[in-house]
């Protein structure tokens, strides 16, 4: 399934946050969106997932939904968005309960996704007992449970320390190699972008426009061993962004 954003323009109050943005996420492709803070990355992602309506332009889906997908567009949030009063399995169960799945089958799905994210031993734990990395793994397990066609990832690793981030990045690469999910991955971390992105879309500061698109052909699984080449790419993306980031840093924010 494909996700197409066409000429998205959006305002908050009098401020334009997104200006005429068009992009496509193809089947099995991870598209990274980077940009300076406040450039509307998260707004773009909310529009892509139907949580917000753009003032102009439209978000479209193309192609058939994959078999058995309960929620084709599925988010992974920066702050994990786990219910603190539900255990790990309860949090996964939450998103299945509205779909009229028989209890036995639901238990099977939960066991399956927890096994795939190495969380089986933590099924009964509460979120407050888990580290940040484990919480995000639970959120990934929850997303996998609804068999998404496209994952919308909003700075999924930004709340984690850098060692945990490395570990989760490896997890994501392994997962992608196995399942070839498509994703729209918003981040301000250029290292994540070059490690995970098939394409990197660089946004300008507010109003967010597409500054440049960097394509990376290197297979995802090889990237951990070819960091030197990625370093060059990362520097190239940073060169594109540097001025924008400097200017964005000096702006007075009046948009939430």
């Amino acid at each position: 399934m494909q996700l197409l954003l066409q000429n998205i323009t959006h305002h908050y109050g009098g401020t334009t946050v997104l200006d005429d943005i068009s992009l496509t996420v193809d089947d099995g492709e991870i598209v990274c969106i980077v940009g300076p803070s406040g450039c509307g990355k998260s707004t773009l992602l909310r529009i892509a997932g139907g949580l917000e309506k753009p003032d102009q332009g439209q978000a479209l889906l193309a192609g058939p939904e994959p078999d058995g997908s309960l929620n084709p567009l599925t988010y992974i949030f920066q702050d994990f968005a786990l219910l603190p009063w539900r255990s790990v399995e309860g949090n996964v169960s939450l998103v299945l309960e509205d779909h009229g799945i028989a209890a036995a089958e639901r238990r099977a799905i939960i066991a399956d996704v927890l096994a795939r994210t190495n969380l089986s031993d933590f099924a009964k734990a509460l979120p407050r007992q888990l580290s940040g990395g484990m919480k995000q793994r639970v959120a990934i397990a929850r997303a996998l449970a609804v068999k998404p066609a496209i994952m919308l990832m909003d700075e999924p690793l930004s709340a984690l320390d850098s060692q945990t981030r490395e570990l989760l990045m490896d997890d994501l690469v392994t997962l992608w190699t196995r399942e070839r999910f498509s994703a729209c991955y918003v981040t301000h971390n250029l290292n994540e972008a070059v490690r995970l992105g098939r394409r990197i879309i660089v946004l300008s500061r507010r109003p967010g426009r597409i500054r440049d698109v960097v394509e990376i052909d290197m297979p995802l699984a090889e990237r951990a061993d070819r960091l030197a080449e990625l370093e060059t790419l990362q520097r190239r993306v940073w060169e594109i962004m540097r001025e924008e980031a400097r200017e964005a840093d000096r702006e007075i924010s009046d948009v939430a």
């Binding site: 599925t74 988010y75 603190p84 939450l94 309960e97 509205d98 509460l126």
Partner: protein, 281 residues
């Protein structure tokens, strides 16, 4: 338990400095931490009672001003032996339980409406703000006309008294539910009812339970007011009767009963919090 500042004798630099001029970094931390001191509360309570009793026996406290604790205890024993204790307690607890339960249920329902619907908030919130500060005791004559001189008016007084704080606690709790959790629910295509039931209501539960603590105390305060008129039995009626006769030992005994009810309710709500909010640290 307060924010105790620990005062430790600062070691004099000269004394501890060795020949190379090394000295320990002066300790400036500590304090401002609560320790749980279990037996302090009963000790304070017993100490006050002891001083009071001593004061009464020595004649320092005049029996006209304040009867001795032993006399009040005697009145309690008297109540117990005549079997009137259970009659008074039974009547009062019935009014408390019915009034508080109905008031809380209605309060949670209206609070949810105000928290969830803009129209309800615009329409009902000013009304709540206008009616909350009205002393329900002042409305007692009205309640008697509306609900009768029997149990109706007494239950209604407690009901209205507990309703408003519950409304405010509930809608405040709903407002404080993490918006991101709601967005998460929407992004997974959860139904509106599921989001309210599984995300908003549990998220508002801490606020609702602390509202219960306040509304339960208000209910006890209003109990005495509600039993002012036309109540034959009830702890409040007993206290008022004792007051009218200047039977101060009975008055103190009745007040002690109310305090006891308050303590037990607070303990029960604490239990409920432990059960429902075990997910919090």
């Amino acid at each position: 338990m307060s924010h105790d500042a620990t005062h430790e004798q600062p070691a004099t630099d000269a004394a501890t400095a060795n020949e190379s001029g090394q000295r320990p970094v002066p300790f400036r931390g500590g304090g401002f931490v609560h320790r749980s001191l279990g037996p302090v509360a009963p000790l304070v309570f017993l100490a006050i009672l002891a001083v009071w009793e001593l004061g009464s026996r020595s004649g320092f406290i005049s029996p006209i001003a304040l009867p001795a604790p032993s006399e009040a205890f005697g009145a309690l024993v008297d109540l117990f032996q005549t079997g009137m204790l259970w009659k008074h307690l039974g009547a009062s607890l019935y009014r408390l339980v019915v009034g508080w339960t109905l008031g809380s249920l209605l309060g949670i329902a209206v609070g949810l409406f105000i928290g969830l619907f803009s129209l309800a908030r615009a329409g009902l919130l000013p009304l709540v703000s206008a009616l909350f500060p009205v002393p329900k005791i002042a409305l007692l004559p009205l309640f008697i006309i509306w609900f009768g001189i029997g149990e109706g008016s007494k239950v209604a007084t407690i009901l209205f008294g507990t309703f408003f704080p519950t409304v405010i606690a509930t809608y405040g709790g709903v407002d404080n539910v993490d918006r991101n959790l709601i967005r998460m629910g929407q992004s997974f295509g959860m139904s509106w009812l599921s989001i309210v039931r599984k995300i908003i209501l549990p998220g508002a539960m801490p606020a609702i339970l602390s509202g219960f603590r306040i509304s339960a105390s208000i209910a006890i305060v209003l109990l005495v007011a509600a039993e002012m008129i036309g109540a034959e039995f009830g702890v409040g009626a007993y206290i008022l009767m004792a007051g009218a006769l200047f039977a101060l030992d009975q008055l103190i005994a009745g007040v002690a009963l109310l305090s006891l009810i308050g303590l037990i309710i607070a303990w029960l709500i604490g239990k409920l919090e432990k059960r429902l909010l075990s997910w919090r640290t």
